[in-house]
């Protein structure tokens, strides 16, 4: 079985992003970029499945410009067998990304596609579900537990009400949550080795996928600021303040 893993290059989660003052976008100049943290967890899970002998090959896939090869190389250093860059400079929306993934899925015929539950830049939380719909296969989102047995995956999902367990037939799309695993650290020799692993580049045009009916983002603004608060000295003052404001 092959496992496909979606890896998105995003602004590192530690960076405090700034909106450009003219409202035209987010200032990403010189900002640290990383693999979307959820995608690192997705990749770690794929590697563990392969190491358990339940998959033969792990392929990392990213849509983006050449700069996303950096994240693909990190994925290869973590242990992926090969990488595919779908080359595009456009700022694509999840439906188009899902369509591009579906083309790769048709070609590679994976038994499992692992994605992050959301990309922390757009916070869309759509791509995995959309791919599953286009592919007409099961989806298991927000996974915090995953076990494979034969042709079935049992997935524990973090839902608002608690932990839901579902069973899906493979192939399926699973989107992962933070508590699924802790990704391994990349070791220096692995970075060297990763340089020799195959990284194929396919252009969006060659895939035959074009964006349509896109949503247009017209303006970016910083969130409204909260008014400056007060500090109190002790629990008694705190409770008095809460009572004053009619909150308790």
């Amino acid at each position: 079985m092959k496992i496909l893993v979606g890896i998105k290059r995003v602004v590192d989660y530690n960076v405090r992003i700034r909106v450009r003052s003219d409202g035209s976008g987010i200032d990403t100049d010189g900002v640290k970029m990383s693999i979307n943290p959820f995608d690192e967890i997705a990749l770690e899970e794929a590697l563990r499945i392969r190491e358990a002998g339940l998959a033969e090959e792990v392929i990392v896939v990213s849509l983006g410009g050449n700069e996303c090869q950096q994240q693909l190389r990190t994925g290869l250093a973590m242990g992926a067998d090969r990488a595919i860059q779908i080359d595009t400079d456009a700022d694509l929306q999840p439906l188009t990304i899902a369509r591009a993934f579906f083309k790769i899925v048709e070609k590679e015929q994976p038994g499992l596609v692992l994605m992050g539950k959301q990309a922390i830049d757009g916070d869309n939380s759509q791509t995995g579900q959309m791919l599953a719909a286009l592919w007409d296969r099961p989806q298991a989102t927000f996974a915090s537990g995953l076990s494979l047995s034969g042709n079935t995956a049992t997935v524990v999902r973090e839902v608002d009400a608690g932990l839901e367990t579902i069973e899906v037939d493979l192939p399926a799309v699973v989107s992962v949550d933070l508590r699924l695993n802790e990704p391994r650290f990349v070791k220096l020799p692995d970075i060297m080795k990763a340089k020799r692993k195959p990284l194929d580049v396919i252009s969006m045009d060659d895939l035959g996928v074009t964006a349509e009916n896109d949503l247009k983002v017209s303006h970016y603004a910083p969130p409204p600021k909260r008014e400056k608060g007060i500090m109190v000295e002790d629990a008694a003052q705190l409770v008095a303040e809460l009572r004053n404001r009619g909150l308790v």
């Binding site: 539950k117 399926a172 308790v248």
Partner: protein, 312 residues
């Protein structure tokens, strides 16, 4: 065809308040709206939905294959009724986030996630980057609009109405490739975080599962819901459904009190819409104080017992 369809959320017994919040967003869009309730034995839930002010019709679809909240079957069903609607809305809860993109892709349209404000029938605002930027989004008018509604941004509409209820059987066929096994709910009897007026949260500083009793007892004293930071959940001090933040629950209680939470952006994004934010942290420089309306730099292990005495 300028009509909105709202996908109702429920647990088999009660309508989730997210539905009345979606209705609030639908009325801001300014079109008539219907509500679809999918499940088995949903007559009671359909009645609750029919009470939401302004609902045109409630479509109750009773079918075994819809009895569990599985996106595959619910999406297939919604797609069969999409024709009469220009807008299809669901909540930004895990149910809606799982379901709506599947509907959007089956219909071949993009989805707007987390609508926080409506500027026009095809013009919305939504947060990105964990709420650190708010964008204006224009959806094309030529295709259907599928979206999730950021429930923390909307007040539930009142329930004084009585829409007609139309009962239907399922139009889509069941799919066998996805099977529901079970649900283990972590929470006890405390109010649901997404509806609670008050929420008391604890962070890594609580340092153990036992110490979380401090949070629970204070919460119970004032009828609050209990929340947590990711660090506290990861460490196993409390169940995952208590996590507040970018990847947990986004909440908007009147009062939010954070004990021993540092205030990482991923946490703050979950509480930005709270009425009053209170932070108790022994580090006076903790970033949580930047967003707190009332701050107290002190040790939570002495503050909570004192507060309990004063509030008892």
């Amino acid at each position: 065809m300028s009509r909105t369809l709202i996908i109702a959320e429920h647990d088999g017994q009660d309508l989730n308040p997210s539905t009345a919040k979606c209705a609030s967003c639908a009325s801001a869009i300014g079109q008539e709206y219907d509500i679809v309730v999918m499940g088995s034995a949903v007559a009671d839930i359909a009645k609750q939905a029919a009470a939401i002010d302004g609902a045109g019709a409630v479509i109750a679809i009773d079918a075994e294959q819809l009895s569990k909240p599985l996106a595959v079957s619910h999406a297939a069903e919604v797609v069969t009724m999409a024709d009469g609607y220009s807008h299809i809305l669901g909540p930004s809860t895990t149910y809606g986030r799982d379901l709506m993109p599947r509907i959007a892709a089956l219909l071949g349209v993009n989805q707007v996630s987390d609508i926080s404000a409506v500027e026009g029938p095809h013009h919305f605002k939504r947060p990105i980057y964990a709420g650190n930027a708010i964008v204006d989004i224009q959806a094309p008018e030529s295709v259907k609009m599928v979206a999730t509604v950021r429930v923390a941004s909307w007040k539930a509409l009142e329930s004084t109405g009585s829409a007609t209820i139309e009962e239907r059987s399922a139009a889509a066929s069941a799919s066998s490739h996805t099977r529901y096994v079970d649900l283990q709910s972590g929470g006890g009897e405390r109010p649901d975080l997404q509806i609670a007026n008050r929420v008391i949260s604890g962070g890594r500083a609580l340092a153990s599962k036992d110490n979380f009793d401090l949070i629970y007892s204070l919460a119970d004293l004032i009828g609050a819901g209990a929340g947590a930071s990711r660090a506290a959940v990861d460490a196993g001090y409390c169940p995952n459904d208590m996590q507040v933040g970018q990847t947990g629950k986004i909440i908007a209680p009147d009062l939010y009190i954070a004990f021993g939470i540092s205030g990482a952006i991923q946490h703050i994004t979950g509480i930005k819409d709270a009425g009053t934010i209170v932070a108790v942290n022994k580090d006076a420089d903790a970033p949580i104080f930047e967003v707190a309306d009332i701050g107290l730099a002190a040790d939570l292990f002495s503050v909570i017992p004192e507060m309990k005495q004063l509030l008892a």
